[in-house]
Amino acid sequence: MKILVCITHVPDTTSKIAFTNGNTEFDKAGVQFVIGPYDDYALARAVELKEQHGGSITVLNVGEAETEPTLRKALAIGADEAVRVNADPKDSFFVASEIANVAKDGGYDLILMGRESIDFNGGMVHGMVGEMLGLPALSPVMKLDIEGTTAKMAREIEGGKEYLEVELPLVAGCQEPIAEWKIPNMRGIMMARQKPLKVVEPSSSETKANTTAYELPPEKGDVKMIDADDVDELVKLLKEEAKVI
């Protein structure tokens, strides 16, 4: 089985978000970058599926040279080779076009992604790639098993789940509990250094949604503390001040 796993290089979930250059650029100072947490689930499930069925795992990132440590980490976790499309991932259309371009002649049975990137939280790239390649795209997938040429999946829906059967090849956006995050071990880290990391140039430069400025939400006001013995006061505030109940 050939698996392509698409990963993002994003600020750690505990990062403080700030902008520079007149609110036109993300401030990277002091920010630690990681594999997107959902992409980490996709990668972990890919490693498990490879253990069960054999095959190979390619990890792909659309990003500039700074993302290579993140790709190396994915190699250490268990991917066999890495591809970096050398470009700033400006919008989801651009990213999806580049992923589809890499995937179209690759003969992949599975293209695994995260349910969403945690920087731009689009949750759109998997669906776009699916449509570009004429493949089904399902997300958020919580369970994924392969039987022959059929994928059996559970997908989260509002208030529950739906179970699906779809023929390979397909695109899936993954989330927990599809697999447990894997931490690279020493051997994996050593081996990752020898594994191929190929850099390719983008096939196009078309974008459709261009960010012109960023902004931060307004500061939260002070919390009003209420005595535990005076819940009536809270009810009154919710009714009369906030007017929400």
Binding site: P11, T13, I17, F93, A96, I118, D119, F120, N121, G122, M124, V125, H126, G127, M128, E131, G134, P136, A137, L138, P140, M142, E156, I157, E158, G159, G160, K161, E162, L164, E165, V166, E176, P177, K208, A209, N210, T211, T212, A213, Y214, E215, L216, P217, G221, V223, K224, M225, I226, D227, V231, D232, L234, V235, K236, L238, K239, A242, V244, I245
Partner: protein
């Protein structure tokens, strides 16, 4: 010019988030607001979309659209967009709407933007504000081309409701084999409950509750408020509560008018899922719990004492 709005149902009723999307379409003030509903639906439900601002409702009643198969829906909506000549497609974010939006954008060559939080500015091109970094920031995005697909966050516009009716027209769609290739074998869905992403009030609890057997008081409070119940990640990881109640960066992002957090410490990943709430109440026995910094109202106290008292006080006040 016109705006097409994809409308979903749940348990035979139009979803509130879809009604909000229709109001958004109408508020764009860009000609007709055409709602499109797929699969079996009640006539009165369809008509009632007029009250939210729809000038017309298109309805494709095909049985093959009874289940929400993403590719089939994407083909049907693309056909509706072409036949109606709409330049903008709007819908509420959901497990069906979002993947449909992605596919329709590619099929129709439209620009796509998700997590939209406000009406667009069309004075010079088409630009719109979206939430990014899990609600920790916003981006103003300028869209190219003459077609747009927007998926909305809850609360992007106020729900309009004036009780008027819209006319309903049949929509004919043609579906291919590939559209129906994914087989939905079964669904597991809580019924008769307020859905978490749709809820105006959410009562959520964390590890401070000690065990699943103690959720009765959370459910009682939720019931009294007509609220949905949520939880922190460890709670769903330990299977105290179902996964679809998990709120946060790696779970559901909620945007209620009121979020009540009980025995949740307020880790940054949890806050990322609730920072679009209008008001936050925190009940925690530790005065140093980080959640208080993100709260509007706080009570330092033992949940087992405070929560039942609060439920009683609300009952008495109603």
């Amino acid at each position: 010019m016109s705006v097409l709005v994809f409308v979903e149902q749940s348990e035979g009723e139009i979803k509130k988030s879809s009604r909000e999307a229709v109001s958004y379409g109408a508020a764009m003030n860009a000609g007709d607001t055409i709602a499109v509903v797929l699969g079996p639906a009640q006539e009165d439900q369809l008509k009632s979309l007029g009250g939210n601002g729809a000038t017309k409702v298109l309805h494709a009643s095909d049985d093959s659209l009874e289940q929400g198969i993403i590719r089939a829906y994407a083909s049907a909506i693309s056909q509706a967009m072409e036949s109606s000549g709409a330049s903008t497609l709007v819908m509420a974010e959901s497990s069906l709407g979002s993947p449909v939006a992605a596919r329709v954008a590619i099929k129709t060559g439209a620009s796509l933007v998700s997590n939209v939080v406000e009406l667009p500015d069309t004075s010079n091109g088409f630009s719109v504000k979206r939430s990014i970094y899990t609600g920790k920031a916003f981006a103003n995005v300028s869209l190219s081309g003459d077609k747009q697909v927007l998926t909305l966050k809850k609360g992007a516009v106020a729900l309009q409701e004036d009780g008027s009716d819209a006319s309903v027209e049949a929509l004919n769609v043609t579906l291919g084999d590939a559209d129906l290739g994914a087989k939905i074998t079964s669904q597991e869905k809580a019924t008769g409950q307020v859905l978490l992403p749709e809820a105006d009030i959410v009562v959520s609890a964390g590890r401070g509750l000690k065990g699943p057997e103690n959720w009765g008081m959370v459910e009682d409070l939720a019931k009294e408020l007509g609220a949905a119940t949520g939880c922190s990640k460890p709670v769903s990881d330990m299977d105290w509560r179902p996964h679809h109640e998990h709120v946060g960066q790696t779970g559901i992002k909620v945007a209620p008018t009121l979020y009540i957090a009980i025995g949740i410490s307020g880790a940054i990943q949890h806050l990322a899922g609730v920072n679009q709430s209008k008001y936050i109440v925190v009940i925690n026995k530790d005065p140093e719990a980080p959640f208080f910094k993100a709260a509007d109202y706080g009570i330092v106290g033992d949940a087992f004492d405070v929560v039942p008292k609060l439920t009683e006080a609300i009952k008495a006040a109603n």
